[in-house]
Symmetry: C2
Subunit: 391 residues, 2 copies
């Protein structure tokens, strides 16, 4: 039999990325297409020791069902880390989620009625677009500029479209690599307060800053108007699928109800291994190591871009994270893509990251998974492909 | 700020069970309220060895992002186990889910529009009621009788209400402990084919049969009309949050899209540990051990019920699983509950398991977590409480 599907599932974009990533795994292709942390940096031996320890000491509890809110000591660890940064977060404000992707799904479930407006950066994070799309909102895209979202356009959208929330990745955004300046953050926070808009501040890369100075969290500027999302995927390992969400009061109560219905709780064994790993190791030292590596890879890419790319191309200069963004200055990213794949280099064309009218002359490059030599050679090939289009 | 919530989240029943379980953990209370597998039976040492092995051999892949469909060898293992039972299942038909609770959420997401009808056993599985409630269906409860669902009522519901699906737990159902007879399964399958209704066959306990004879899966009787859900929670350990869903064609494609939006994928490390555990150990031997234990605990409870309960009470006689169901013959389960808690024994009153008009004189007992002595003493106290209500 062929079932009739719910209307909501007909609206979700098929993942163009999945198709691209299939091409990108060819052995002869240097891929800047993925969005993965560098597996060489996973603290495998320390995680193995942590797994061994938790399964030796308290296996009955480690292997049993856990609580919907998350493993209590891990929630407290996350809260304490926020407090060390001056944010007022208690363990009870932390909901451990099955990756921060689940946090996005839960926010959509609890807050979005059909046709509600969601304000989102343009280009925006694809995982958020997919998660929210399930609940059939209208998206209001707000362009990113060099220092963060375009404030005039955001003000217009918040006042005119009255969105249910503004989804923002203020640090080293995926896909653009853009970071909000201090003044832009203050302006966003002021607008949120003035218009009563909820900010969903997603910060998976915040700890991976390799240049510039740390900026305040939106949650520190508009605490009553901000839900924060975080993740261990980029600082420990994505395989765990352990992220979190910080919310308060009635919103948290509803999120817990939705979370129970979604998957009962996040894997207890992964939470306990992670907590043990965090207790037995110096996570800040580990993060410094990741930052140093990604910083070097990013510089290698920036140097290669300066060397290899033709005039008229522009790019962002990330202060952290894993991505940078290319503006091809009118050239078709799909035309470049076809040539580049044949030429042995892969990237993600920019158009899937737009919720409104897409720009067809942008693309995303990932620098976390390739060494300096591969980056140099890959950017050389890509420059060649862009010139070939020009010819 | 106090956000406005989506309509869907206002309809989900708060978990009465969570409140009860808080009372049930008091040290002086013998609890038949939970629904947990017995932690003494978790194969902790073997899981520790499996974790050590996968983190030694291929940590880069074990700790990286995985595929949305699940770890390929685990999908094949699950498919092969179905094939060994005569079911035509390929690895591609298996979607690994974050517990089978996620399977329920995904089915709701992909199939249910608001006000669609969901046919469900009455009493029914609470996790399914919660998962589907998010999508705001109308429930059509169909009473369970001794050999399975009431076929005349089911026929009436399928023909009159045209439900989008019928959710059924044919083996040792939670909460009732009822198992469908062979003829009842055939009748359900015939009805599904005749009316074009999708069967959602949830079978978390199927391998835990300690009495009677194995019965055919609905999927073997109506393969084109059945989606199957399964789980490792009851045969290995619930902490992993690894379950699965078997579906085909376009339905599977939509489920994968929804699953990506929900949490990207199930923890890769737990899938790999589990797969390694399954390869290095005799899972059938382990399951026989669980079955023997639960069978003994169930017999201890049935013996105690015969000894301790007053006339007018009836109960199911489970052939497997973890639960049995008491009909108090008109007595209020909440009145018995209050007395029983004071008397040091806990259970779950039956009314949360009804989607329609609830029966107020039923209750669920779990036998998987208590030894024979505690079962004897707990049932003695419960009999005392029932008599106290009669007095």
């Amino acid at each position: 039999m062929k079932p009739t599907f719910a209307d909501r599932i007909n609206d979700v974009p098929r993942s163009f990325l999945r198709e691209i990533l299939k091409v990108a795994v060819r052995d002869d292709v240097i891929s800047f297409a993925g969005g993965l942390p560098n597996r060489a940096l996973f603290p495998a031996a320390a995680i193995r020791a942590a797994a061994d320890a938790v399964l030796t000491s308290d296996a009955g509890a480690v292997l049993q069902y856990g609580s919907s809110e998350g493993y209590a000591p891990l929630r407290e660890w996350i809260a304490a880390r926020y407090r060390a940064r001056g944010l007022d977060v208690a363990a009870d404000d932390v909901l451990v989620t099955t990756g921060s992707q689940q946090g996005l799904d839960l926010i959509g479930k609890v807050l979005l009625n059909e046709r509600d407006v969601v304000a989102i950066e343009e280009p925006g994070y694809l995982g958020a677009i997919q998660a929210f799309s399930i609940y059939r909102p209208r998206f209001a895209g707000v362009p990113l500029t060099q220092g963060g979202v375009d404030i005039d356009r955001l003000a217009h959208v918040l006042r005119t479209d009255r969105p249910r929330l503004f989804y923002t990745v203020p640090n080293f955004q995926n896909p653009s690599g853009v970071t909000y300046s201090a003044s832009r953050r203050e302006a966003v926070a002021r607008l949120a307060r003035d218009t009563g808009t909820l900010l969903v501040e997603d910060d998976p890369y915040g700890e991976l800053r390799f240049a510039g100075e740390a900026q305040p969290s939106m949650a520190s500027l508009a605490p009553a108007h901000t839900v924060m999302l975080g993740s261990f995927s980029k600082i420990v390992a994505p395989s765990f699928r352990v992220g979190w969400l910080v919310a308060h009061g009635e919103l948290m109560e509803r999120l817990v109800i939705a979370r129970q219905a979604a998957d009962l709780h996040t894997s207890e064994i992964t939470q306990r291994i992670l907590y043990r790993y965090l207790g037995d190791n110096d996570i800040d030292e580990h993060i410094r190591h990741i930052r140093d590596c990604y910083g070097g890879q990013c510089r290698a890419m920036l140097d290669a871009l300066a060397r290899e790319f033709p005039a008229g191309c522009r790019h962002t200069e990330p202060e952290g994270g894993m991505f940078l963004w290319i503006d091809l200055g009118g050239r078709s990213s799909m035309a470049v893509f076809d040539h580049a794949i044949a030429n042995g280099v892969a990237f993600v064309p920019g158009h899937p990251f737009y919720t409104g009218e897409p720009r067809t002359d942008t693309l995303r490059l990932n620098f976390s998974c390739s060494g300096a030599d591969a980056i140099g050679e890959g950017i050389r090939r890509l420059g060649e492909s862009i010139r070939a289009i020009d010819a």
